[in-house]
């Protein structure tokens, strides 16, 4: 069953990456990249447990915190951005 969860995570990452590439506005891309980071944290956790890695949870914790702060920084950068003026 853990293999099914890993497969579902990989398919979801592919779908989210597609949205990150075709996203009409910059906010769609930020949302997709954040969702991709969350899914990679989950993939590290589930896959690390399935493959018996050593101390995978610390890497997942670090990745979750870095994803949170990085997404906040990118959103801060695009806060006063008007999507009607250019096609990002």
């Amino acid at each position: 069953m853990i293999v099914a969860a890993i497969l579902a995570l990989l398919v979801t990452m592919a779908l989210v990456l597609t949205r990150a590439f075709i996203g009409p506005t910059v906010y769609d891309r930020i949302l997709a990249v954040n969702a991709f980071g969350t899914k990679s944290v989950l993939l590290i956790t589930v896959g690390g447990h399935a493959m018996g890695w050593y101390s995978y949870v610390d890497i997942a914790l670090m990745y979750a915190l870095i994803n949170f702060v990085g997404t906040l920084a990118v959103m801060r950068f695009f806060e006063t951005h008007d999507p009607r003026h250019d096609e990002l």
Binding site: P24, A35, T45, L61, T80, D82
Partner: protein, 117 residues
């Protein structure tokens, strides 16, 4: 045996929620609808997947770390969604609607918000 069954159930439900969120993020028509679909399913899928791993791990130090990871993701995901919604609103991004009554309703809401503030 029961713990293993519960862990499998959590992992299966979490994977299903992940797939639902991915399909919703790819297929839904507007940005705010996509935001809703992605954030809600993502938060619950995180809790279920990590809980499945936690049940499979047993009593160890990793259990506490996984619980900490659940708490961090459960706080971080909705706040990221809220901040992204505010960012889109500050960037003058409004939801586009096909129906005229809905658009006028939104304009009324905006005007009432402006008058109250």
């Amino acid at each position: 045996m029961l713990i293993g069954l519960l862990s499998d159930l959590c992992l299966l439900f979490g994977g299903l929620l992940c797939l639902t969120g991915g399909v919703g993020l790819l297929r839904l028509p507007s940005f705010f609808v996509r935001l809703h679909a992605a954030s809600v399913t993502e938060t619950l899928a995180t809790v279920f997947l990590i809980a499945g791993v936690m049940l499979d791990t047993g009593w160890a130090l990793d259990t506490a770390k996984l619980l900490l990871l659940i708490v961090i993701m459960f706080v971080a995901n909705p706040s990221i969604t809220h901040a992204l919604c505010r960012t889109a609103a500050h960037g003058k991004y409004r939801p586009e609607s096909n129906h005229e009554p809905q658009a006028s309703h939104q304009q009324e809401n905006q005007s009432s918000n402006n008058s109250t503030s």
